[in-house]
Amino acid sequence: MFASLAGVLFDGFAYGMLLFLLSVGLSVTLGMMNFVNLAHCSFAMVGGYVTVTLANSFGWPFFATLPAAFLAAAAASVALERTLYRRLYRASDLDQCLFTIGIVFISVAAAAYLYGTVQQPINTPSWLRGSMQFMGMNFGAYRLFLVIIALAVTVILVLALEATRFGAQVRAAVDNQRMARGLGIDVDRVFAVTFALGGGLAGLGGALAIEIVGLDPAFAFTYLVYVLIVVAVGGLGSIGGSFVAAAVIGISDMAGKYYFPQLGAFVIYLVMVALLIWRPAGLFGKRQA
């Protein structure tokens, strides 16, 4: 019983770390510009398909494809931001939602056209496939690897935000955009860079997700709900909040599926609604979205 509980906790935590990678970019950009970008998971899908294509058609090793996935998703997101999104910053929530949902529809159809609707296979290095024994429990090597990457990303992000000049500008823009502009910070440029970073992280998440949850054109929709849950529960613009929320959601989803399989996704939605009713601005949110 104890071993299975720890196993569920570990798997849930690893799954939560995946959600964290997918959603952290959205949390920061949403907090900064109040731009509801529902197409965030489309960037993740771009990363996933880049990895699949490079690994399967061009024979790249799995690790070499990860930076490529990051860069491709970052490039795609910044291109979209510069050409289309910037016109909608002053539009209503609803318009932003509809526009970006339209982008999701288009990306799903494009992925189905280019790759078909089947699940894409991926070959990970052999040492990531097994599992390790520790104190009588099994840890999946790939999940361990996922947790390590997510923790590394978190440390890098927190350091970059807290200790660099650019990070200070981002924090200023999230806290009070008008004041930041008044101080001479080029918020639009900061935002474009942040957007690219967030999109790139989503792309990395999408590439890493293939092994765990698979990749098909519906990915942009299926994970949109999870990502939104993490962002809304964690609070806008808060990296720590996203981290905690992703862990809570990942663990409760895994525990719900393991202990109450007949309830399906019921548990995770219940957790989200309850948390939001308790704290509408999210666990770590300072202001209401």
């Binding site: 999701v104 529809f105 288009i106 159809a109 494009a110 709900v225 996704a265 939605y269 609604v273």
Partner: protein
């Protein structure tokens, strides 16, 4: 006192209430399918039901500014309520419709206490979450709802004990159209009342309304309950005219579709949802041969185009065109 003495705002309000010729012509046109396309009456009935559902969303989204990504919850509730009633022996359609609508309204009233407290992203997420919760609940309660197989064994009695629900959808269309028209009249009356004006005030400036003494939350609770009742009626119509209820009636897909339909037609104009439903369903019927994946490509492109170029939907675009033409003439 006659209208001529009244100044600006009063005259504007009066002009809004008056029936225009094009409106009357439109409602006569809804009878055309009987003559022109008798083979498509089932589709026409589907359109009337979807239009009613879009109208219910228009009441909260277009007038009170409450964005909901989970409105299918009430549609599905109404559908399951009507379906279950007739499955367990209550096959009379009209009373079934009223009961189903009342059940949806009751749930809507309970939920409205949560809804009225939130705005923006939290509101969108909570409506989405509650919708998904209900979908999961219906999925797991297989003993009641039939789960993923859908609800089977619905037997409807003839409408008014005389008109059977036939294969061609003649009765179905008359029935759906009549309910749509009656509820449309009620909605039209409602939004031109002082209450309707207060709702528009909330949409335009939610902070200022309480400052001038309007109870925002009470208004939102009221309109949300009404909207749930209308959505429940639409769901009940679907269950009664097709004699099946599937899980799809509660799905996120249906919530998203109705939002697209309303935005495409133009929110906050009552007719927007009806126009959107006609265009959307006729187009889907015509293109049903092609892969559904590509159907959503065009829907996506349409959404992007509507947000970029037609911020108020097709009706908003038409209204602007008409205004410009009038300006040129004078």
């Amino acid at each position: 006192m006659s209208g001529a003495h009244l100044a600006g705002p009063h005259r504007y309000l009066e002009a809004q209430v008056r029936w225009r010729r094009i409106e009357i012509a439109f409602w006569f046109c809804t009878l055309l399918p009987f003559v022109l396309t008798p083979a498509y009456l089932q589709l026409a009935s589907q359109i009337a039901i979807t239009a009613l559902f879009a109208l219910s969303l228009d009441l909260i989204l277009g007038y009170a500014g409450i964005v909901s990504l989970g409105h299918a919850a009430f549609f599905g509730l109404g559908a399951y309520a009507a379906g279950l009633l007739s499955k367990h022996g209550w096959g009379e359609p009209l009373s079934g419709l009223v009961i189903a609508s009342a059940i949806a309204a009751a749930v809507g009233y309970a939920m409205s206490f949560i809804i009225a407290r939130f705005r923006h992203l939290a509101l969108i997420m909570i409506t989405l979450g509650l919708g998904l919760l209900l979908h999961e609940a219906a999925n797991s309660a297989g003993w009641l709802t039939g789960g993923a197989d859908g609800l089977q064994g619905i037997r409807m009695r003839p409408l008014l004990e005389t008109f059977r629900f036939d294969l061609y959808g003649r009765t179905a269309y008359v029935y759906s159209l009549a309910v749509l028209f009656l509820l449309f009249l009620a909605a039209r009356r409602l939004i031109h009342s002082p209450f309707g004006l207060a709702l528009r005030g909330i949409r335009e400036n939610a902070v200022r309304m309480p400052a001038i003494g309007a109870p925002n939350r009470a208004h939102i609770r009221k309109i949300y309950t009404i909207s749930a009742a209308v959505a429940g009626a639409a769901g009940a119509l679907l269950a009664q005219t097709t004699s099946t209820v599937s899980l799809e009636t509660l799905s996120f897909q249906r919530s998203a579709d109705v939002l697209v339909i309303l935005i495409l037609g133009g929110a906050g104009r009552l007719y927007g949802g009806i126009l959107g439903a006609i265009i959307y369903l006729v187009a889907r019927d015509q293109f049903s041969g092609i892969n559904p994946q590509y159907w959503y490509f065009w829907i996506g492109l349409l959404l992007v185009a509507v947000v970029m170029f037609l911020p108020n939907g097709i009706l908003g675009g038409l209204a602007r065109l008409a205004a410009r033409r009038q300006e040129k003439r004078s």
